[in-house]
Symmetry: C2
Subunit: 430 residues, 2 copies
């Protein structure tokens, strides 16, 4: 087995915590990151009392219930289980913004997403590897999915140049030139220690001509094959292929067939939520999940708003990610059962009620709308902390509700109730 | 008794949580804030399960140990005890910046400071009162000390005008004209629900001519008398007078005599840490605490750096406050036993070690210097969260060490060790 292995043979001589009893008589070895990671790994594991824990091999997905097209299930990884349908908070630069990782876990998140593009530029994948991998670095011991960098590199516009080999681009931080290929993306995600690795792909912004969508999709399928080859054999880690093809069914079918021929541990639907609108997106989701193997997780990338999530789960999606709950938390928008609350609004300045009296998150348990309004208007960091926590809690509660409804065969009723509560709107001003 | 009283007689009919079992059959009444606070108070107490708790009357201070001029003791208030010497984190705008209140408490803080100037402008004292007072508003149930607004109004420069009556000034937020007098300051601090109220004073920036220092000190003493009269009888709440007089011993003596003649529950030393330098400050502290009653707490305002704190405690100071640990946390400076670590510095980029391996704060338990460096450089909010937590933890550990040393009669050895560790400097780069 590769990956993190703890062998209780001899002491890590480079360890700064040489006297740490948890490691006495043992040493740590990451066969992938190499010996230079020993010290940092030792440090990271020592801190969290994980030394001596043998990491189990294997990546697995089981569907445990089906309701219409919707599925509930469990992804098993050596880092822990991910209950599906799952929402993955985005931890772009090795942090879910404004949250401590234990708070992210407290919201009910089983997995977070890291961004290859950001991490390769700063602090760099090699540095993260030397420091023991992304889990130890950011203090998140549960599963991590990393994107491939493709999507974010594409959004650089004039700063990037695409060829068959890959993408050459300039860093938005210091202007340095970088070259990202399927092989380099696999190497970066291996160095980060990601549990679920995404194939390197090209995602055109919509609207685009069908010719552009077809061309980039076919290149992405060739890149997916190269990603598969470069990924190699890594038990306990998964590689997901990414379907492209815009809103054109024939292209989606061609893409799905190519991915299935290559074979992946999971399949993502890319190229949506990039400007096509909810109706077009849900249109693609009417058929796209059905083009992918039923026994593998299906991940809709970059989605979305709460009603996008419900619509996607209804159509057979198992995993999603989006910056919306965390970004909205920093811009004063809170998601509740009744829709969106704009905490900036003066109507809240004297309101002693919580955002949602049924919510059990810290922001709702211990603070009034008036307080959240005040700290947001005052530019206080606690506003971002509390609103982000609330939003991530809301998203995870939504996922939990969806999973329970699917398990009970009550998804239709759940969805009806979801829409009815939103239609009723926020509580009246007091 | 005045202040918060819970009477289990009838249900609060205006309560948004009418069905809350904790309040069934009871109602809340704040005799000071008035009936308009019922709803908010009910909400606040309901949230924290405090309903039914009768708040005890009384404010008290007991010296429990003396070592040289240094004292250890306990301030008792209806909101809880404050172990002295105490460091009070600053919660300017109803939040200790970048911290949740439970995290502030976890660092070991018994009391926080709120700023009258900021709170009177936004969200306003009247609004805080309607919402149940500052403790409920900011979710901090332990004691709160509020300053009088005087110091911050003085720092507005051209935006303010001082007369015998008080200070007229323009808000830095919206330019609105406000009038702050001893009477209005007492009213604001009463509306906020502060446990320790500071007399309204005028603090000249040093260097200033002795004539200016004398004139402002004498006006401050007249204002202290007016503060005492306006404060009235409020069992369970304390009013502290503030000594002025710059670095002139005769003026300090005159000020202390005036304050003692009026009589206060505690005495502050103001007008230091305003530009006179550490040597001059410690020079005043050689005699100033001894001018104040030994059986009352002595509070040195706005101090300071760790070595200022140690020097002040050695000279008989019981309480201090400063924005330094929280502000430094947001600007990448961490305080450790070995001095100041500038986490921005590139030497930390690959360092797998914590800020201080002996520190038990979350930043040191779970994160490397490399991580803190990365998130600080990336402008991530978690950098402010972790570094502020670390700094406040360091300050509270320092206070805890000082209290234990005084109790054991070992303060001299503690102070020697404190300076020796700092002289050794930060750990060598790895």
């Amino acid at each position: 087995m590769r990956g993190w292995v703890v062998r209780l043979r001899q002491h890590c001589r480079r360890c700064v915590h040489g006297g740490g009893s948890a490691l006495r008589g043992g040493y740590l070895h990451n066969e992938e990151a190499g010996v230079q990671a020993w010290q940092a790994a030792c440090f990271g594991l020592w801190q969290r009392g994980l030394a001596g824990v043998q990491v189990a091999a294997g990546f697995d997905f089981k569907v445990t219930a089906v309701d219409g097209k919707a599925r509930a299930g469990v992804i098993s990884t050596p880092r822990g289980q991910v209950r599906t349908p799952a929402f993955m908070p985005v931890g772009t630069a090795a942090t879910v913004k404004a949250m401590l990782p234990e708070s992210v876990a407290a919201t009910g998140a089983d997995i977070v997403l890291g961004n290859t593009y950001h991490l390769m530029l700063r602090p760099t994948a090699e540095r993260v590897a030397r420091l023991g991998g992304l889990h130890a670095f950011m203090n998140w011991q549960r599963p991590i999915l990393t994107d491939s960098g493709g999507f974010q590199v594409m959004s650089l516009g004039a700063l990037r140049k695409v060829s068959e080999d890959g993408v050459r681009f300039k860093s938005h931080i210091d202007g340095a030139v970088h070259h990202l290929t399927p092989e380099r993306s696999m190497e970066i995600q291996r160095l980060l220690g990601s549990d679920i690795v995404m194939a390197f792909d090209e995602c055109p912004a919509l609207p685009a001509t069908e010719a552009v969508v077809a061309e980039t999709m076919r290149r992405s399928m060739r890149w997916a094959e190269r990603s598969r080859a470069a990924f190699g054999e890594r038990p306990g880690h998964a590689l997901f292929g990414i379907m492209q093809g815009g809103v054109t069914r024939a292209l989606r079918e061609e893409s799905a067939a190519a991915l299935c021929a290559t074979g992946f541990e999971g399949y993502a639907i890319g190229g949506l939520a990039v400007g096509e609108g909810q109706e077009a997106m849900l249109g693609v989701l009417e058929y796209a999940p059905g083009l992918l193997p039923a026994d593998r997780p299906r991940y809709l990338m970059g989605v979305g708003k709460p009603d996008d999530i419900v619509g996607a789960v209804e159509r057979g999606i198992d995993m999603m990610d989006c910056v919306l709950p965390s970004r909205s938390g920093r811009t004063g928008q809170a998601f509740t059962r009744h829709g969106v609350v704009n905490i900036k609004n003066a109507r809240h300045c004297d309101d002693p009620r919580p955002l949602d009296e049924a919510c059990t998150c810290p922001a709702c348990r211990s603070y009034s709308r008036a307080y959240l309004h005040h700290v947001y208007r005052s530019g206080e960091i606690i506003a971002a902390m509390l609103l982000t926590w609330h939003n991530l809690h809301y998203y995870q509660e939504l996922m939990s509700g969806l999973r329970a409804a699917i398990a009970a065969g009550q998804l239709a009723a759940f969805v009806r109730d979801f829409h009815a509560q939103r239609a009723a709107g926020d509580i009246a001003p007091c």
